[in-house]
């Protein structure tokens, strides 16, 4: 177990280092470094001043040396400053991370709360009109562009009906009702990205279980159908669903970027988008790395849950 965790942690660290290298190189290609921007803003700065400043901050070094300097600092916990907000990056990041985790959590809950009953129903009544309706809805959910769905929801529920706010967020601890009202549309939008895939997967897993011998045995010994479905088949069908939840985390974080931008919801996604648009390199780089770390941790959690739920999967041997 310990060895397995160590290997996973090493794998995650490797992924993060590779990501940071790629991103650092890419961000080196983004328009305007900080000194260029300063020079543009202040006509009194001469090219000589600019060169001196670049030397002072190490910006005249070749890319790989700049990267190593950055990595060295990051490893000691110094992730640098945000040019846009004039504050340390980490200070900006923590509250945003919390907001996004909350959003992702609720949306995942909503997705599963819809997908599990829908998937079970579709599998139970396979090839009926109900099954076709459910598969049509799930097709719609995963084909709809999230930003357009957000626009349509804003048009319907904020502009026309005036029921829900179109932008911003509230604090759950301070004003619960207000925070919930702000959360409804973003959570619904974000759930659309995953619910369609989840429904298809639950249906397939459930169909698979319903064909098994133990289900026939359970029915044969006279158990009620509800008990067969929920106590026996569903319990087993949900085990592979955990993997899909883990795999969907990347999709969810991508969806959070769109959703938060559409609803001006102050989470990580909006932070990353705003940072990229304002060429705030360092903020974009560090927040993207934290978003990746979030996804990797989520994947690890999903794998551990899977192993814990399914005793056939022995950690340490086959699983990598």
């Amino acid at each position: 177990m310990i060895r397995y965790l160590c290997r996973r942690a090493a794998g995650a660290a490797l992924v993060l280092v590779i990501m940071s290298m790629v991103l650092y190189a890419l961000i080196g290609l983004m328009p305007g470094d900080p000194i260029d921007v300063m020079v543009q803003a202040d006509p009194r700065l001469t090219p000589a001043d600019a060169a001196r400043l670049k030397a002072l901050y190490g910006l005249d070094l070749p890319l790989h040396e700049r990267y190593l300097n950055w990595l060295g600092a990051a490893l000691t916990g110094d992730f640098g400053y945000s040019r846009l907000h004039h504050r340390p990056v980490l200070e900006l990041l923590w509250p945003r991370l919390g907001v996004t985790v909350e959003l992702l959590g609720f949306s995942l809950l909503l997705s599963l709360a819809l997908a599990i009953p829908a998937g079970v129903l579709a599998a139970r009544r396979a090839y009926s009109w109900l099954d076709h309706l459910i598969s049509l809805l799930s097709l719609g959910a995963y084909s709809v562009p999230a930003f357009w769905l957000a626009l349509m929801l804003i048009m319907a529920f904020s502009v026309e009906l005036g029921w829900l706010p179109a932008s911003g967020s509230g604090d759950l601890a301070e004003d619960g009702t207000q925070a919930w009202r702000h959360m409804v549309l973003p959570v619904v939008t974000l759930s659309a990205a995953t619910v369609g895939g989840f429904i298809r997967f639950v249906r397939a897993a459930m169909m698979e279980e319903l064909r098994r011998d133990y289900v026939r045995t359970a029915r044969a010994k006279g158990l009620r159908e509800r008990r067969v479905i929920f106590r026996h088949a569903l319990k087993n069908a949900l085990v592979p669903v955990i993997t899909i939840v883990g795999l969907s985390l990347g999709t969810l974080v991508s969806g959070a970027l769109v959703t938060e931008t559409m609803f001006a919801y102050p989470g990580m996604g909006k932070l990353i988008y705003d940072a990229v648009m304002a060429s705030d390199y360092n903020l974009a780089l560090v927040s993207l790395l934290f978003a990746t770390l979030l996804v990797l941790l989520g994947n690890l959690a999903a794998d551990l849950t899977y192993a814990w739920m399914d005793p056939r999967v022995r950690i340490g041997a086959g699983v990598s």
């Binding site: 097709l139 626009l151 974080v253 991508s254 988008y273 990229v276 990746t292």
Partner: protein, 299 residues
């Protein structure tokens, strides 16, 4: 050949897939009709007319104008051309990369396979959209390319999309190659001293074609979706070229005055993506391919 004919029969009986194919043909005709519509109306999709902003339907503008007085119908048709072209081109590039890597990994196995599968697992799990945004925002002039020309922006978006789109194809192609490499005819070819490249192209590729086609079709919808998000965020197709996603950027600030501007482009994206997904499912059922996780997408 018999299997292919059977597949065609099964496909024809798959009602939704045939309907999707019809929808796609109509969309394709719309894209082709764009230059004709331009000359019929005597306008261009880029023509700005600030005196006719947000105009209703008229003889000059069959379905009205947008927030800059540009003809909405022409913008939608050009958007169809752009979205379909970008989606199909990106899918093609992604399929070539994915098929080459997947077939090689499945056929040769060993470390190549291990490394490749690790990379695909990794790419699938990543939060791709933030990464794409950074890539799309990168300044190409620092690489000696002229980023201000719209063709370059379009080419860049195709390559960026292909870079994330190849994984599905690679996984399915690998799976097929793993099966095919154990077949007698491949072993016979190997025993006769045929080179690996020849075996891969002559024997493995043709027999792995159906999963590759399925993955390619399913990925078009996904790539069109991703293109529309990037264009919407201002990082994809660049104006004055119209794209459905980009049209929604302008419409976003106008949802009170002109809700129709926000409805049409989004609806067209939606319909196109649904059609490609249904078509992909239909081909998958016809060829009886085990495709992996449905409905997980890159955004």
């Amino acid at each position: 050949m018999g299997a292919r004919l059977g597949a065609w029969k099964r496909f024809r009986r798959h009602g939704p897939a045939v309907a999707a194919a019809v929808v796609l043909v109509v969309l394709g005709l719309m894209a082709l009709a764009f230059p004709l519509a331009e000359s019929a109306l005597g306008l261009q999709a880029e023509t700005i007319d600030l005196l006719a902003r947000l105009a209703g339907p008229s003889w000059d503008h069959p379905i009205g104008t947008d927030e800059l007085g540009r003809d909405l119908l022409l913008r939608l048709l050009q958007g169809a051309q752009v979205s379909l072209f970008v989606g199909l081109a990106a899918a093609l590039v992604a399929t070539v990369i994915g098929a080459a890597l997947g077939l090689a990994a499945g056929y040769f196995g060993g470390w190549l396979d291990a490394v490749l599968m690790r990379i695909t697992d990794f790419v699938i799990a990543l939060p791709l959209l933030p990464l794409l945004i950074v890539m799309a925002a990168a300044d190409l002039s620092r690489l000696g390319l002229d980023a201000d020309r719209p063709e370059h922006a379009t080419l860049r978006i195709i390559l960026i999309l292909a870079l994330v789109g190849w994984t599905t194809v690679a996984r399915l192609a690998r799976g097929a190659a793993l099966v095919v490499r154990e077949r007698e005819y491949v072993q016979a070819a190997r025993a006769l001293g045929t080179g690996s490249t020849t075996i891969l192209i002559r024997h493995v590729l043709p027999n792995a074609l159906s999963p590759i086609v399925v993955a390619a079709t399913l990925s078009v919808g996904n790539l069109i979706l991703t293109e529309s998000v990037l264009s919407f965020l201002g990082l994809g197709i660049q104006p004055p070229l119209a794209s459905w996603g980009g049209m929604l950027t302008g419409a976003q600030g106008m949802i009170r005055e002109a809700p129709q501007l926000a409805v049409w482009p989004g609806l067209l994206i939606f319909v196109t993506v649904v059609a490609f997904n249904v078509l992909g499912d239909g081909i998958r059922d016809a060829f009886d391919v085990e495709a992996d996780v449905p409905g997980l997408r890159s955004r």
